[in-house]
Amino acid sequence: MMEGILEYLYNPLVLSILVNMAVFLIVTLSLNLETGFAGIPQFGRVLAVIAGAIGAGAIAGRMMAAMMGLPAGIEYVGDQNFVIVGELNKALESSPLLSIGALILSLAVAAVMGGIMGYLASYPAIRLKEAYLGITLLAFGDALQIVGMYYDPLAGGTAGIVVPDVFRFVGTGEIRFLSSTLIILGIAILVYLYVQRLARSPFGRALKAMRDNELAAKVYGKDIVSLRAKTLIIGGALAGMGGALWTLYTGSFKALTYNRLTWTFWPWAFMMLGGTGNNLGIVLGTLVFSTVRSLIYAYKTELTAFIPINPNWLEYLLIGVIIIAIALFRPQGILPEKPELPLSKKKIESIRASLAKGD
């Protein structure tokens, strides 16, 4: 039975769906935290994602190289990148503990980088409103991508860099992709649990209060500035981890990969389809979209026989039409936001019962 499942998972299509789903789930959950719960029009999601990817690919990699006594300066992202990363991979392969440590280090650096971007974004976020804020955030994201693309000493510029394979502890070859997918999925589940807990905490309720009526939240003594800044930092850190995991999984970093469409607008579409403000809806929306995208990608050649157009454009057309349809017919998404109870229903019932007895 177990072997049957494993065999099924080795299917590259299933793997692609799973890993896409897991990485985008993390990014979309972070977006939902900022937009769904806190009401910040985060049109610059790609900013923290690319910062996290650079953190994991270029900064954590350099830190590892420095620790090993390998060149970690400009050489790391230059001609010798391949050689240095090869040396690192050898070391990572020899010791599973080192490899796990490298994974944790990469994620930590990515989270810090994403958090810093969130902190920077909070500067306009407390001063500007609606469209002004949304477009400013969008501009921030584009600016970092341009720097990543053209400033070679940062992360190799247009050519990109290869990244140390921190998943070496699970082996190489086929098993590496399967196990790393499962690990990323596990991290995504942890992020989901964390965000869900956050949403039900007093902090999460304060965010929703701020979103629904900023003035009323202020009257009740909520510090709007600090709430927004905290949300952007947490959201940025999570999105940074998402970007880092994609870089670590693919084993390379290229700034071109981290564009506005894929890492800002796709998560927005996922969120709108699933249900803005509902974490479970985000899971559903991400699952549906990443399955559709992976299927189109996988059956491109077969599709060409049936339709007169290039399937690439079919993907754009399909996602565009879905976004329009959601906006028109079901703006609250498949799973609309529900009031979150701070305690489980059972507990509330029992408290209510004991209170009734007390009377």
Binding site: L128, A131, Y132, T136, L138, I146, A269, W313, I319, G320
Partner: protein, 321 residues
């Protein structure tokens, strides 16, 4: 000295042409935003369609003179705007959808229009065997004369003329006609406007047509200034947004001025930086409009139109007294 003055004149010419295209598109974004509250992402593809209309009609299908097809680009993208309004935006406005839903719905429209551009480009390539993935029309412009050794291209004059004409058109329309008064009332207070018997839907339809058409015309101008790929809309949309935001989102003239501010500074600053710091810096050109936008917003959170010019003016007058 003569050698140095040449490139500067040429750069300035290109910068003016570029700014004119940007200004029209940005004013289109502003027009749609101030009437319907929709920040239109589909402007990217509407601009790109204008670009491709001029290219395909002039270079592939009919030939002649590229300026002949500017009106076609104007009307075609205007129709795209009308479609966007009738199919999507109208229903959302009726429902009273929030700003983010309005914005995202236009992103969906943009993706669909973008797909159609690519399908059209594929069709042209398959049928007429032309390269539609990299378009260079900048060399095909009419040359009016020479400044030193450098050609003086018609687009510089025409782009400025179109912008001035458009500003004049809006000035006369908004201040001298009944429709203009109805338009301004609708912008100020839509529900009061409907009580007075103004059909606000006509106003919205007009705004979407003109907004789209200005994007198309902007794209047509840009086709003679920059080279393009089907993703050209994606590249120019950021300076367009920046220009519209710098202009303040509530004044069509603000959008036009913002376009010139962003366009001129983008092209001129990068050339100055290139001459000071070396040619490698030129790749960072797209960041300049973003920096100008960020700086403007941090000083004036509602853009240039948010500044109370009259107050500043009267204060300086009173201080003189």
């Amino acid at each position: 000295m003569q050698i140095l003055a040449g490139p500067i004149v040429q750069i300035l010419m290109t910068a003016i042409g570029f700014s004119g295209g940007l200004a029209l598109a940005a004013a289109g974004i502003t027009l749609i935003y101030m009437t319907t509250g929709t920040f239109n992402f589909a402007h990217a593809s509407m601009t790109a369609w204008g670009f491709y209309i001029v290219f395909s009609l002039y270079k592939v299908l009919l030939g002649g003179n590229p300026y002949l097809y500017f009106p076609v680009a104007f009307i075609f993208s205007g129709i795209l705007g009308v479609i966007t309004y009738l199919v999507v935006n109208r229903w959302l406005l009726k429902r009273g959808a929030d700003m983010v839903t309005l914005m995202m719905s236009t992103l969906g429209v943009d993706l669909a229009f973008f797909a159609f551009i690519n399908i059209f480009a594929d069709y042209l390539t398959a049928t007429y065997k032309v390269n539609t993935r990299l378009i260079v029309l900048t060399t095909e412009d009419i040359i009016l004369g020479k400044i030193g050794t450098f050609p003086f291209k018609a687009i510089t004059v025409i782009s400025v003329a179109i912008v001035v004409g458009m500003a004049l058109f809006f000035y006369l329309l908004l201040n001298r006609t009944k429709f203009g008064i109805a338009f301004r009332i609708t912008v100020e207070n839509p529900s009061l406007a409907s009580i007075l018997g103004i059909n606000t839907e006509t106003i919205y339809l007009f705004a979407w047509f003109m907004g789209g058409a200005m994007a198309g015309l902007g794209g047509a101008i840009l086709s003679l200034v920059i080279s393009g790929t089907p993703t050209v809309g994606n590249t120019v949309i950021v300076p367009e947004f920046a220009a519209s935001i710098v202009g303040g989102l509530y004044s069509i003239y603000g959008g036009l001025v913002g376009g010139f501010l962003i366009g001129l500074s983008q092209k001129l600053i990068i050339n100055w930086l290139g001459s000071v710091l070396g040619g490698n810096i030129v790749v960072y050109e797209p960041i300049i409009p973003l920096l100008i936008m960020a700086a403007t917003l941090l000083l004036y959170p509602e853009g240039l139109a948010g500044i109370d010019w009259r107050r500043i003016f009267s204060r300086s007058k009173s201080s003189r007294r």
